[in-house]
Subunit: 345 residues, 2 copies
């Protein structure tokens, strides 16, 4: 067991030197950790995203293993890069280390960063290491390249609305953590916790949708087969509303089509709550919401599933703007305006 005291003894430069040796530099980085700034290879269209992660707000040490936390911190940023139609190149990690942190925890966290970096073929190329008087705080910035960025504002009336994977799993996993006395089948519990703790950014899925070269980032088809995209991090209802508002369209969602996993359904039934509510309003799904011209939707679906095994579901369509940004259509034909997003604040 390595104590906080040893951490202090190692110091800022000792920690940086240690991590520098553990982190692989991949293509795209000319100069990583160690100078005033990192130096990257030329970027055609640089895209940049940041996520702050604060202990007791975004994660709890007793719920999340540090390696999974490290993986997730990278994945949620790569998810944003994927949603823009980009390739991630480099991540920059600022860590504010609190008095409760020990070297063992930090080494596992960095092992998680590096595992995810390898998965997504990016480099951890810099950041800052500082002290926190209380909680651990992280900021991850990921820089990517997107020769033809896909914005959330590009949705066109007539487009179909596609979603990758299943929705609500992360919220179900969180509910299990919040209700430890609950009894659910082990397989469902394992699956949902994994979806909550260790989401996979849908990078390969977006690259398949766009027929993008993973090396150059160039698209096989111009204009792109996807007109608008975002990653669902605040719940489908709220994120779809952002897309609708940015695109000046309304989005109709067929409630019966929403992809909800058996594990999520099962857990909701045991808890006596609505799986649909988790799917619509649960956060942290990190699935992609895509708008695709209707005549291309089948091809896009097939390409994604063939390349990655991930299911893709048509859940609705873009319609001319009305007073409601997102309209839910129930199996009996009832229509209702969807609610708003989860606010992190």
């Amino acid at each position: 067991m390595i104590t906080p005291n040893q951490l202090h003894h190692l110091g800022e430069f000792g920690l940086i030197a240690r991590w520098r040796n553990q982190l692989s530099q991949r293509a795209g980085v000319r100069l990583g950790i160690g100078d005033d700034a990192a130096v990257l290879d030329s970027l055609q269209v640089p895209i940049v995203t940041c996520d702050g992660l604060v202990e007791k707000v975004h994660f709890r040490r007793d719920w999340t293993a540090p390696r999974a936390l490290g993986r997730k911190a990278i994945s949620v940023n790569v998810s944003d890069i994927a949603a823009m139609g980009g390739r991630p190149v480099a991540a920059f990690i600022t860590i504010a280390i609190g008095p409760n942190d020990d070297l063992e925890f930090l080494e596992e966290l960095y092992a998680g960063f590096e595992e995810a970096a390898a998965d997504y073929n990016l480099s951890i190329a810099g950041g800052d290491t500082v002290r926190s008087p209380t909680e651990l705080m992280l900021n991850i910035t990921v820089i990517g390249d997107a020769p033809m960025p896909i914005l959330r504002s590009g949705a066109q009336v007539g487009d179909l609305l596609l979603v990758t994977g299943t929705l609500g799993d992360s919220a179900a996993g969180l509910a299990l953590l919040q209700n430890p006395s609950l009894t659910v089948p082990a397989a469902a519990g394992t699956y949902l916790l994994q979806r909550h703790h260790d989401p996979t950014a849908r990078l390969a899925e977006m690259q398949a949708a766009l027929q993008m070269s993973p090396v150059t980032g160039q698209l096989a088809s111009v204009p792109p087969d996807v007109t608008a995209a975002l990653d669902i991090s605040d719940g489908l209802a709220g994120d779809a509303a952002h897309m609708a508002e940015c695109s000046l369209v309304s989005l109709e969602i067929e409630v019966a089509q929403l992809p909800i996993s058996p594990s999520c359904q099962e857990t909701a039934a045991i808890m006596g709550v609505s799986a649909l509510d988790w799917a619509l309003r649960g956060g942290e799904d990190y699935e992609l919401l895509l708008c695709v011209p209707s005549h291309l939707a089948h091809d896009v679906q097939e390409r994604i599933t063939k390349a990655t095994g991930t299911q893709v579901t048509v859940i609705g369509r873009c319609v001319p703007r009305t007073s409601d940004a997102v309209i839910l259509i129930y199996p009996d034909g009832t229509r209702a305006a969807a609610g708003s997003a989860f606010s992190h604040f």
Copy 2:
């Protein structure tokens, strides 16, 4: 007075919308705040730096006005970009807002960000807004372009060692904050506090040294007139040691040549401490340490001073590597190894 409660009411998206309207987008940014990621114009050689700033570790609310804190948070990152020989393009701000923050404080902080962004001609193009259970925390990532980056590893034996401005002022300012009962001349106090709270990144100075086009970032002379550079943030002695180690040279520093302001000298005398120690080991100077081939040193000095008014002092030279990375030479010819850097951790 706007209360924390109103802050909560405004929410994450309300805050983002508010700030989005206050922040100007300048050249180089295609798409700022509002999508999954920001989109920048093509970058020839992207350079990236991050700084974490944590309340009670890096700043105290009773010592620092929020507007100055906002300015400084940008300046310290631009200082790193300047030291690499780059132009800043975009800043990304992650803010973890604590229970003690109110909207007035945050508005002033963002006004400071925007003032500094205007000064350095960069855009605040994104970030993340989250909640902190305790202290305010910031991470600033700045991305720039440096067609020909100047590294700290490029120093050559025979180069002269130049420093911009004066050293030790920030440490003297900090000493005044730590000793409020001290009596010093008002002008000295004002100057030193300003140097501590609101340092100016030496961007124009580096551009003058390199004869760099502020628009394209191209250098008039190749190879560049500066062989190695860094910004002095951890104290001259420590930062010079980093440069010496990266460049595999030793650096001789003439103690009598170190530029120390009259205000710093005066305050040190009143406190009965060593101004030289502040100059060598005080942190947060944000002056540039430059290595320049000896036949170019006079030209570089003159160009910087002519363009910016900032004094530039030759403080030493690069010599073949010995067991000591940095050697201090006193007026009587005594030689001593310099100590180590300030560790932030």
